[in-house]
Symmetry: C2
Subunit: 232 residues, 2 copies
Amino acid sequence: MTLKLYELVGAGDRRFSPYCWRARMALAHKQLAAEFSPCKFTDKELIAFSGQTKVPVLVDGDDVISDSWAIACHLEDKYRERPSLFGGGYGRPLTKFFNSWVDSEINAALIRMVARDIYDCVHPHDRDYFRSTREARFGCSLEQAQAERPVYMERLRQALAPVRTLLEGQPYLCGESPAYADYVLFGTFQWVRCASPLEVLEATDPLYSWRERLLNAFDAMARRHSRLTRAA
Amino acid sequence: MTLKLYELVGAGDRRFSPYCWRARMALAHKQLAAEFSPCKFTDKELIAFSGQTKVPVLVDGDDVISDSWAIACHLEDKYRERPSLFGGGYGRPLTKFFNSWVDSEINAALIRMVARDIYDCVHPHDRDYFRSTREARFGCSLEQAQAERPVYMERLRQALAPVRTLLEGQPYLCGESPAYADYVLFGTFQWVRCASPLEVLEATDPLYSWRERLLNAFDAMARRHSRLTRAA
């Protein structure tokens, strides 16, 4: 039985969605092969069967799951005998908190910093859609949002402080090996890496070497992918 | 063997330190009786034996532990057979993240909102110390910091969004019963409750009923305490 993941695709076959990267990394963690089905922002009809309009969407036999958090929970519950994403106990609710925190604090700051760069990366058919939806959300143009970079860069640096505290004592957020919490935040950095020339981490930041470790995970899946798409 | 917790005391025997409340709640969770030893901000000599200058300090037989996070880890490791604070697995590192997040995001916003009120609550001998150290940290007077309340109230409301997401589906942050993560954030609200007339939560907020549950926990320990100190 093949799993199929519908994921966002941009110009030159780039795969830059942070939420789709969460699902990609979770599948790899569970050692599950999947077919990746590219889907533009405006390809709403491709995933209409899921009853909603956003990727990622996972099809696993008769199960159709949308939303990256629901996909992680599905994989954890259905493939219990495989390496755990949440580590049992209070791991799941606390990872859910971490997931919501990355969405509301980290991604919300980053999107303004790279929105104009992402515009260049989305599929040409998606550009008007991307610009109009994001400008409505920001209340300003993509160019104006991106011009505020220094403000958001400082906010991002401060907001990441509790992650640095954790990484001072261990290579991954939950200990000696990566967990779903790592993939949640890694998805964010992979998004920036694939869609913008902006480097948001200094080489001396503990987050920088943590990101390197995750770029190397699963036979350097994320590193190879972003190289391929960057060369495209 | 009696455990002894050195905790902050203010005017009228008020106990309002958020970090000491974390330790109080953790002791109660572990069903451990303790003697509470009051200590003013400027009573540095009382806790000099701990090798540092801040409460809470826990003395547990030959063990002397300072810092609320280290105290929670000590209690979890030494009293393994008692109800768990972290829930095993990835619970500890993810609770550590939550702990750092509350310190850097939530408490940092709240202190500016209630600093002038706290000034009235600290022991008269501590007032000059409190004012000078906090004004140096804020870069403005306590009165000026507190005047920015509306800005920080809005920031707080937004920052708490991921906690609300969690409480939509369950009564406590980690599920059906309270865990150390709950006590971490509860300490913050108990601090405001004991030291300021400011109400930071609306009655319709899921956090409001969550706080009510924790005020009622352990025979309403926190509720009774704050009433006593408020009446003092």
